[in-house]
């Protein structure tokens, strides 16, 4: 299993990024070993959510942990049957602990407006 955490940096110690599509890094985490592989996100001017969903799917993650997810990203991640847990706070490690303890909620739809990462 691979979990994707949206992050401001390249390790689990960095603060998570509260929006999905324009997160600077995606951390692909093996929950057994808690090792993280960072992938830099370089969104263009348009369609950041779509592009981010493609990156997550191609790295075979089945769970995303983030703050909020917009409508285009939600549609893309859902098409790949990826579960999205929202409301994450603190460092990547904090978010992972909250996920493991069942403290994050599974998104049933978009939780943020389009262009949420630009505000």
């Amino acid at each position: 299993m691979t979990i994707c955490i949206t992050s401001t940096g390249q390790s689990l110690d960095a603060p998570i990024n509260p929006s999905f599509g324009r997160a600077p890094y995606f951390l692909f985490v093996d929950p057994e070993t808690e090792t993280a592989q960072a992938v830099k996100n370089t969104p263009g001017a348009h369609g950041a959510g779509v592009q981010a969903a493609q990156i997550v799917a191609s790295n075979k993650a089945t769970v995303v942990i983030t703050g909020n997810v917009g409508p285009n990203a939600y549609q893309g991640l859902s098409a790949a049957n990826i579960e999205i847990y929202v409301g994450a706070k603190g460092s990547g490690r904090d978010a992972l602990d909250d996920y493991n303890a069942g403290r994050l909620s599974l998104a049933q739809g978009p939780t943020g407006a389009p262009h949420g990462g630009r505000r």
Partner: protein, 281 residues
């Protein structure tokens, strides 16, 4: 001559100026008034418009034949707007992100993508109140206003004066309305918000190489910050419309104020002469 009436800030009086200018000039020459605020057109409220012609405006969207698609991802890589995406073994088309350029159909190696027309809105046109009038109306739920604005502009007769009532803001729809105009007539009010957005609108017009002139509406409220800014930037203030209960009352009843306050017709004609000078200077 083509005059684009813009503002940056909403609610400064673009429609008021557009309609009153069109009515004042229509007695002397052929005028075309075009409501380019397709998300919220409102010129018609002040006119007796009934559409003689209504036509649909659309954009082309990709439709993928999944029997031919190999999920190679070339379409998605090529798309500037990420409007088409391969995720796993699924292909997604984001209608609202698509600009209808057709590049995906060109790069598809298996010919799996064809284009289908999708209606964005309509253009209504006809003669009213002594001039030619047209307005675009974006369908509810659609986000892309610019194709309708481009079509409205394509229909203009270049031999006659055109007055374009632009959308508020400084985004793509406003740029579409101002682009190609001989002058951008910017309607503002002398408040901090008015000046902030006026600066942005001036920036847009100048980046499109369109000369600018300013009208201060509700003159008397706020302070002299807009006048100071215009003086420093060398932008002519071509008209001041006072903050008047009489004008506001007529507006609230849907009556263009030149119909009741005849002296304003001459002021709009003088304004037009001033605009011609700015446009050619």
């Amino acid at each position: 001559m083509r005059i684009a009436i813009a503002s940056g800030k909403g609610g400064t009086g673009k429609t008021t100026v557009a309609v009153n200018l069109a009515l004042s000039l229509a007695a002397h020459q052929s005028v075309q008034l075009v409501d380019c605020d397709v998300e919220e057109p409102n010129d018609h409220i002040f006119l007796h418009f009934r559409a003689d012609q209504v036509r649909s405006v659309g954009k082309l969207l990709p439709r993928v034949d999944e029997n031919l698609c190999t999920y190679c991802g070339k379409c998605s890589e090529a798309c500037e707007f990420k409007a088409i995406a391969i995720i796993g073994n699924k292909i997604l088309v984001y209608n609202d992100l698509c600009h209808g350029c057709g590049l995906c159909t060109m790069v598809c190696p298996t010919g799996a993508i064809t284009e289908i027309s999708h209606e964005l809105g309509v253009i209504e046109s006809g003669e009213t109140d002594g001039f030619q009038f047209a307005r675009g109306v974006l369908n509810i739920g659609e986000v892309m206003a610019t194709p309708i604005i481009h079509e409205l502009k394509d229909e203009l007769d270049p031999n006659h004066l055109a007055i374009l009532d632009a959308p508020p803001g400084t985004g793509c729809p406003t740029i579409a309305a101002i682009h190609g105009a001989d002058i951008a007539l910017l309607v503002t009010e002398s408040t901090p918000f008015g000046l902030h957005d006026l600066r942005a609108a001036v920036g847009v017009a100048r980046s499109l190489s369109v000369p600018v002139a300013v009208i201060i509406n509700r003159c008397g409220i706020g302070d002299d910050r807009v006048a100071s800014y215009c003086a420093a930037e060398g932008i002519p203030i071509v008209l001041r419309i006072p903050f008047s209960r009489e004008i506001a009352s007529l507006y609230s009843r849907g009556i263009p104020f030149v119909k009741e306050l005849a002296e304003w017709r001459d002021r709009f004609i003088v304004l037009y002469e001033a605009l011609k000078k700015v446009a050619t200077s």
